[in-house]
Symmetry: C2
């Protein structure tokens, strides 16, 4: 009987897990001393390429060691205090501990009967996050795997709430040129063609330009189109800019449009005393995406979608197959599987609960303040450097800047040089800094949201960038 | 500086993790002796309802113990050897160990540069699964969070491959009345109205009826509609039936329709020597959903979507924002973020790699054989019972049956009695058996896929059902 073969590894797993836990604590305590990333060695690659899935099993310890050596050793450490690219992970061992516990029990978190108290905790977290966003009593939502699925879920509800089937092909959605790519991807999935998406130019500070937005809506109305939704960003990925939410909300109300806020990255500022005001107006939106795996120290796969009126999700997603009838609790209880695209769903919120209980909401708020402060520090340092220019000022922990030299280089040459600076510093393993494109220029971008990042990390990284610029200039 | 406050818990986490690992091994080794589920105590519920998110943090150990006591203690154990409802989880500590390792490093598994060897391993797994399905060289796919997202991803690619925008509103999709509810949910999301979905009646053995399907396609063609896709099931959730794949494939080829196979539950039989033949014809499909968290012993959030031609996914999902330009590797390398709805994505496949390396593909194949054998055993036992009838014979580890008594009860009375039998046995905590509805009757359903389930578990559970029927009859 198979079960004996499976279970025989259990004692060994305990031993290996003890070893692994000790290793991980050492690993996280010493993150500062490690390279952010390191190239894969040729032997490792070849070994893995040749490693097939065996017909018969191999000793667990051998597999465990091989995975540590060949797979986990080559990961670009987004949780590293000098990982400044993209929106870096701030995952902590607290979140890991939540993963370890949750995955051990593996609750099926889609309906109350399967895991009543886990269900309660996720509902409390959703309610708490709704409160933080200033959402009303009818609000609700659920945990999903990431911002892309959150945006997709919200846009589906928006479509089904605001449009009849006949109106769909005539409807128009408004984004800015700084809106995250997942918005367009989600809109494509739910059936909107490219000609139904208006990209509104951002203003000088990379926020949606209200005049351009109003103009576009007016033109579409005149052309007999149906303006139906605006996707605002609360913390764009490029610059951390926040679109003018109150003005967008007023326009949406005027024309009966749905206002979705992509706050995947920036909504965490709702927890900050100091920076909360940057998100004023978010309470007027119809829906909100918010990733806990970005700025709330969670490992990946921990995001929420919130809606001002939970019924909108129920209308789009409720479905009741026969074999699940026994698992439904009551008419009053809305099950998570009726609120989004998934049926079976891991309990993604429990690790966030553990983190919030242990650090407190103020602890998380401090993380936000810390991250914003570090970007402001970077700005201060760079302002003093004559050969550098700030392209977008520190906003919600993101700053963009550019080596401009002494004025003798063309824009094209500077593009190449900035790209080269990013490449050299990143490949050194000391810090990870990527480029992005703003106002037609290649610029360097730092996202400084990791609570483990110290002032010294910022100073040392900028120093490296400046040194590297000096070398690149002399090529 | 925040980072010191966060890191101060690390040493404590190690101690708690050692304690937890020991506890978990004991827990899994003794699953047989535990109730499948237990009701939540009133005090626990009240305690949790009052537990708010504190402004200031609480001691980690207190939170850890509270979560164990109040949250994780009340979970319905789908991995229990006598959990026979829905498609029960077969999660093992091997998969948990993969979670523990993967989540500790938290790789961002969407592009090669972030975690090159993790990327390689997931690509090898995808290729291996494509080979198992008999897919061609151009095939590909990716890991997603579950069958619903897998179906959604495949249906989006199907729509974009087979239909112009103008054709969409005229297109028709064919499902059977046994198709999983996520198919209709996904179709709704990508824009298909109810009038575009034809539900084909299943035959006596709960497979899609080919005559009815052909008839429906012919009618739609005659009415000027565009038949565009058939969703076949390889292992329906209710009965484990497999739709006639070769015939469906031939019809799809004839009318240029996309054939999607929902194998979320049943595709794992591709690993079995004995039952692989039940899936003959699956290699002719255009896409396939396959959940590793159903029959391959993985914790939740581990599913794949495979397509016969990977370009179909690229066409629907590729998107390249500026700030990710530095993370792209080369033209040749297709990044996972270009193959599905997600951008940031946890490395869902690594735990499956660990399991496969340790147990071997034959080990997993034995798990399938074991599960199928147990349902066949249940069938043998029930055939001998005169007051019971088999509604659907053992298929891929699922059997449906019904207490029919001595012939003096009406069908309606029997519906109530069977429901009552399921409720009593489930509430006892000894085993979990739910009902479903087949051919208009309430029936008892057992899904026996857990490798930890022994013959004795099957015999004892059926004995309980029979005993309970006796009591219910005397009400």
């Amino acid at each position: 009987m198979m079960y004996q073969n499976v279970r025989k590894q259990n004692e060994e797993i305990r031993e290996l897990m003890n070893e692994f836990s000790a290793k991980m604590v050492g690993f996280y305590n010493n993150l500062h001393t490690k390279p952010v990333g390191r190239p894969v060695e040729k032997e490792t690659w070849e070994h893995l390429e040749h490693q097939q899935i065996p017909e018969n099993g191999r000793p667990l310890k051998e597999v465990y060691e091989e995975m540590q050596r060949d797979i986990y050793s080559n990961i670009l450490l987004a949780q590293h205090p000098r990982s400044f690219s993209c929106v870096p992970s701030t995952a902590s061992l607290l979140s890991w501990m939540g993963d370890v516990m949750t995955n051990a029990y593996n609750p099926h978190a889609s309906c109350k009967i399967n895991a009543p108290t886990a269900d309660l905790v996720e509902k409390k977290l959703i309610r708490w996050m709704c409160d933080r966003a200033g959402y009303c009593e009818e609000a609700g939502g659920l945990f999903v795997s990431g911002g892309s699925i959150a945006n997709l879920t919200a846009m589906t509800a928006a479509r089904d709430t605001k449009l009849t089937e006949d109106q769909r092909s005539n409807a128009v959605v408004y984004l800015s040129d700084q809106t995250h790519v997942s918005a367009a991807k989600g809109l494509h999935m739910i059936g909107f063609g490219k000609n139904q998406i208006r990209i509104i130019a951002a203003d000088e500070e990379f926020r949606m330009d209200m005049d351009a937005l109003k103009e576009a809506v007016a033109q579409d109305l005149q052309a007999g189109r149906k303006p139906f939704a605006v996707i605002a960003s609360a913390g764009t990925t490029n610059t951390g800019s926040v679109d003018p939410m109150k003005e967008i909300a007023a326009l949406c109300r005027e024309y009966d449009m749905w206002m979705h806020v992509d706050g995947a990255f920036g909504a965490s500022a709702l927890l900050s005393g100091q920076y909360r005001k940057k998100l004023d107006g978010i309470e007027l939106s119809d829906s909100l995406s918010w990733d806990a795996h970005k700025w709330m120290m969670q490992t990946y796969g921990c995001s929420v979608v919130l809606v001002q009126n939970q019924d909108a999700l129920v209308r789009s997603f409720a479905a009741h197959p026969e074999y699940l009838k026994d698992a439904e609790t009551s008419e009053d209880n809305v099950e998570f599987w009726d609120l989004g695209p998934e049926l079976t769903r891991p309990a993604r919120g429990l690790k966030l609960w553990l983190t919030l209980q242990t650090l407190g909401s103020r602890g998380l708020g401090n993380v936000i303040d810390h991250g914003c402060g570090l970007a402001e520090l970077a700005e201060q340092i760079l302002i003093e450097e004559k050969e550098w220019e700030i392209i977008s000022r520190a906003q919600l922990g993101i700053i963009n800047f550019r080596f401009k030299g002494n004025g003798t280089k063309t824009e094209q040459e500077l593009d190449v040089m900035n790209q080269e600076i990013a490449r050299i510093v990143t490949e050194s393993g000391f810090a990870q800094v990527f480029t992005t494109k703003l106002k037609g220029k290649k610029v360097l971008r730092m996202c400084t949201i990791n609570p483990e990042t110290r002032e010294k990390d910022i100073r040392d990284t900028i120093e490296r960038l400046i040194e590297t610029a000096g070398k690149v200039q002399n090529y």
